[in-house]
């Protein structure tokens, strides 16, 4: 579904990503792991249009999206979360979800209040899905860290994406919340959404992934079943330094 071919991005000499190729399937959870600075987030930013690759090609459902602006990528069906929490803190939790509806719709469509009631109901459903129903009217900034991560997932779902890119969804989150978030990832996979997840929590990522991609120094060094990858000597070396 998502095809990445020979993508490279260097920042003033820092070789963040070099010649990365891989394909991401729908209806599966793919883990993306690697030491800090491996280039994982940079790869996400290129897929989502925040960085234009120096070279290479990114195709989504056989449509080229290389260098398309972020909003167009989101509208094409790729949702993402950020490593640093991003929510609109002054808006209510419900309004944060409402923001995500109709990705790529024209500006004029947003002037109409027509479908607001319908969208509000749908947003309530999505908040129920992540277990934040009782926080709907609270400003997002008042939510706990873990709850804001859940809110990010609800926003992504409101985009109705075919593919979801999650940048460290359980980092800094307690055990209970981690279990909850991993459960949500499985639910979304089972609905047919492709999930690509960056995660440092090895236990979590091993448990949840159907497939594992390992990056180090800007390159893919392993790609396969989690059990297989775990045995890979190059991976062990990269992690143990």
């Amino acid at each position: 579904m998502l095809e990445i071919r020979g993508v490279t991005k260097h920042f003033d000499g820092v070789k963040a990503v070099t010649e990365v190729s891989c394909t991401i399937a729908k209806g599966a959870i793919t883990g993306l792991i690697g030491p800090n600075g491996a280039g994982k987030t940079t790869l996400f930013n290129m897929i989502c249009g925040y960085h234009v690759p120096d070279s290479g090609l990114i195709c989504f459902n056989s449509l080229e999206i290389t260098g398309k602006p972020p909003y167009a990528v989101a509208a094409a069906g790729i949702g993402r979360t950020f490593q640093n929490l991003r929510t609109i803190k002054k808006l209510s939790t419900l309004d944060n979800v409402m923001l995500a509806f109709n990705p790529g719709a024209s500006l004029f469509a947003s002037l109409k209040k027509g479908k607001e009631r319908q969208n509000r109901e749908r947003a309530q459903e999505l908040l129920a899905f992540v277990g934040l129903s009782d926080k709907a009217e609270e400003p997002a900034g008042e939510l706990s860290y873990g709850q804001q991560k859940l809110l990010n997932l609800a926003c992504c779902r409101a985009l109705d994406p075919a593919l979801l890119l999650l940048d460290e969804p359980v980092a800094g989150v307690n055990q209970e919340m981690t279990v909850k978030i991993l459960g949500l990832l499985r639910d979304m996979r089972d609905e047919g959404i492709g999930v690509l997840v960056i995660e440092h929590n090895m236990e979590a990522v091993m448990e949840v992934s159907d497939r594992l991609i390992v990056m180090a120094g800007g390159r893919v060094i392993a790609d396969g079943e989690p059990a297989q990858v775990r045995e890979n000597s190059e991976v062990i070396e990269a992690y143990l330094g």
Binding site: G37, T41, N45, C48, Y50, H51, P69, P70, Y71, A74, A75, G79, R80, F82, Q83, N84, R86, T87, I88, K89, K90, L91, D95, N96, M98, L99, A100, F101, N102, P103, G104, A105, L107, S110, L111, K112, K113, E116, C155, A158, L159, D167
Partner: protein
């Protein structure tokens, strides 16, 4: 009585202009110091059309709106493609250019001599008889502008503007063309400012470029900040406060010449006090500089 009416009319006009700036600057976080230029374009359009072409006032206003919107669109197009920090500089440059044109294109704008003898507006062919009637007109238009903006900011469109102000990277990730929304906020704001300009021109019946300087832009921005960024009521309150302030100074017995200078200092002091002790202004919910720098870049390293 006439004096009180005059102040109320000026408060009404500045309310319209400040509310219109609040849409881009207060709600969207798009700081512009070109608002006096748009206000001026509105004033000159109405003045020139009514004086030189005999076009009735109620046709001058919409013409000004369309012309101003078009000009705002043309400058927003390139400047919104630059980084945010440069946007305010681009608006500054535009403000300077507009002032120079008003001041130097003597054959068209009258240059520093301005345009005297702008005809009074008439409603259905009957000239507005008094300042009282004109105040009603300003109030009616002011209320219309308020209702229009209020509806806008409570629509999905307004929600997106408020979100852009806080974190545009996040809004992009939700499939919103942030540049288009900023452009719309800027253009709508400019277009509405021109209505205030048209009203000012026919009310004062004489305009010259000194009313549309960068100082004036900053005065309008001060109304928005002191009244409260992101609050339409705040803009009205801010206009009432800042417009009547010099009158109060005069009232307490300061000679005119002194009052004029004290006025500028007082505005500056007020702005600093506001930033220090009440950054959200009189009625605003948000501090004016609410978006921290890191929210503007996808660092995420």
């Amino acid at each position: 009585m006439e004096y009180l009416l005059h102040i109320l009319i000026m408060i009404g006009i500045y309310s319209i202009v400040a509310m219109s700036l609040n849409l881009p600057a207060g709600f969207t976080g798009l700081i512009s110091v070109a608002h006096a230029a748009f206000y001026g374009i509105g004033a000159y359009t109405t003045a020139l059309l009514s004086l030189k072409a005999g076009i009735p006032f109620w046709l001058c206003l919409p013409t000004g709106v369309i012309l101003t919107a078009a000009i705002a669109f043309l400058i927003a197009w390139p400047s919104l493609r630059t980084r945010d920090d440069y946007f305010v500089i681009t608006t500054f440059a535009f403000q300077i250019i507009v002032f120079s044109i008003l001041n130097n294109w003597v054959s068209f704008t009258g240059g520093p001599m301005g345009i005297p003898g702008i005809p009074q507006p008439s409603v259905f062919g009957v000239p507005l008889p008094s300042h009282g009637a004109f105040l009603c007109l300003v109030a009616a238009i002011g209320i219309a502008v308020y209702l229009f903006l209020n509806r806008l900011i409570n629509s999905p469109f307004g929600r997106i503007l408020k979100a852009i102000r806080e974190d545009e990277i996040f809004v992009q990730s939700l499939g919103k063309n942030v540049t288009a929304y900023k452009m719309a906020a800027f253009v709508i704001g400019a277009a509405l400012a021109s209505i205030g300009g048209g009203l000012y021109a026919v009310y004062i019946s004489y305009i010259d470029p000194t009313s549309f300087t960068v100082m004036e832009s900053i005065f309008i921005l001060s109304i928005v900040i002191i009244g409260g960024a992101g609050s339409l009521k705040g803009s009205v309150a801010g206009a009432a406060f800042l417009v009547s302030l010099p009158e109060i100074l005069r009232f307490v017995g300061l000679p005119n010449a002194v009052a004029a200078n004290v006025r500028q200092i007082l505005y500056g002091v007020l702005l600093v006090l506001c930033m220090m002790y009440r950054p959200q202004g009189l009625f605003g919910e948000y501090a004016f500089n609410a978006h921290p720098k890191e929210r503007k870049e996808v660092e995420d390293a």
